[in-house]
Symmetry: C2
Subunit: 339 residues, 2 copies
Amino acid sequence: MSTIKEIASLAGVSRGTVDRVLNKRGGVHPETQARILEIAKALDYKPNKAGIVLSAQRKNLKLGVVMFGTNNPFFEDVKAGLKDIEAELSCYNCDIYVKSTPDFNEKNQIEAIDDLVNSGINALAIAPQNQDGVVKKIDELAKMQIPTITFNSDLPTSKRIAYVGSNYRKSGETVAGLMKLINPHKNLIIGVVGGAQSVLCHTERIEGFKDMVASHDSLSIADVVWNNDDDVTCYDVVLKLLETHPEINALYFTAGAISGGCKAVKKLGREKGMTIIAHDKVPSTVELIKEGLIQATVCQQPYIQGVKPLQMLFDYLTTGDQPEEINYTDIEIYIKENI
Amino acid sequence: MSTIKEIASLAGVSRGTVDRVLNKRGGVHPETQARILEIAKALDYKPNKAGIVLSAQRKNLKLGVVMFGTNNPFFEDVKAGLKDIEAELSCYNCDIYVKSTPDFNEKNQIEAIDDLVNSGINALAIAPQNQDGVVKKIDELAKMQIPTITFNSDLPTSKRIAYVGSNYRKSGETVAGLMKLINPHKNLIIGVVGGAQSVLCHTERIEGFKDMVASHDSLSIADVVWNNDDDVTCYDVVLKLLETHPEINALYFTAGAISGGCKAVKKLGREKGMTIIAHDKVPSTVELIKEGLIQATVCQQPYIQGVKPLQMLFDYLTTGDQPEEINYTDIEIYIKENI
DNA sequence: TTGAAAGCGTTACCAC
DNA sequence: GTGGTAACGCTTTCAA
């Protein structure tokens, strides 16, 4: 285990000079620089994280978190992750500021970001809305040397340094594969219930799902309807969907408000022979799986989505090492027995 | 963020005294002790991990790892985890020593442990064989103040401080649930192919599976055979199993050597209408899933089994905080689409 | 362009 | 019983 001190003494310079070279702060004679780099390589120098972190504590780093879906139960697990990482980072003199917005109003999310910037955050983790203004804001922060990591939903065109979350297309494909697996010899006429057309992840899931449906003769989609993540709306649209399409024998809920839709299924007595697959593991969905009405739910590791972005930002700010750009969470399948 | 220094100055004592109290080293006047504890509580003192680790580096901690299954491809992912955590801990001046044994010979595993103890390890992570001698050895280490964490397979009667790995009973239940889900209206006559009767996890999976089968009228078990985790043996026993039981329409592989068994299925042309479920995600299994012969595989987060025990031991030795006793890894279901 | 020194929080050791 | 001090590895600031 080589240290800066060691390199310094071998190179016949002070620790400060080695630090300047290793961290590219400039202002070092090219020859000394070359010598130092050579020695560092020869010793396979790896900076000591404890030392770095201890030293970084004097900065009192502040990390900001912005999310949509204040009242969306999905985010409860994300928040549990946030809480844990907050406790962990708090003992490194690093503070976390969280803001969440209830709706998908662009202005509100941007305002939340601005608020955090004003309170002096050094980096931002955001579950972003898929809107141009948000992209622009992230790019603005990048110019101010405030790095951003997106989570849950990505904005690939922005200057965010990384993304942590699901590969939604693949998770839609997984649902289709699961439906086929559960019904190997049955023609499936599927009703798809989305959340909101403005939310990228829901539409991407449906794209992946459609692709997969297209490649299986026995699968077909009757209709796609939207519930705005609202239980009452969901009850209504599913009721109408099932009445209009008596041939439907499978339902795919791509978003929240699943229990409302399931009530409609029960109301019409259409449970029998109905295959239902949902996403995420909110309490009401767990109940419906235990009950047997929903056969499976496909999840996206929400807890990790809370923890990892902040961990990566903290590491980036302290040790300086660049995070992986795309960090897909696992696509987890839960059925009655392993939920 | 309160520090020892702060507490010391408030209590009117030195940092050394505070350290003695907080870490229960004894030799402090009861009154001073009480005063210090009170202040620490009032300030909600949380030790600073970076400081602790930095200080602990002088000890040059050594962690030992012992595993069975040297040539078992399942352990490749475990080893990947080990490699990553080794890199992480190496920059804290902490070294990892790994020993793995090819067979299930009790003496070999105990010898491996002894070797590591002789090279001065401060703690042990072990994927233990289910044998009395190993239990005794772990208890011996405990007396020598060398803490042990079991992973992959537990020894609940030993003095190990924690376990990281699968809930095997539940994972067997999950397989049964999955079989039922895939075949909602079909009577399933299942052939069960275990690894070795001496390996606890395989037998536990089968117990869980049997429980679940018993509670579903449409599921039944034709026979249970053993393959010793060997491909050639597996080919033979499955061949015989399928010939003896022409009514078998489902196979459950509870252990390794799955590809050998699948060859037998193909040889006899019994693929059609056969439901096959396996465990773990070794390359040959992935191939068979993509091919469609195996419908699903139920996994146990091997990477985490490599990382977490060492992380927990390092934390335990440095910060001193007690790990959770039982750390079940997730039961993950993989099908063609999400593998 | 470089060096010296202080500081981050904890622990260990020696002295009293 | 207690205090003082050095040490862990790194960054930062001031001075030269």
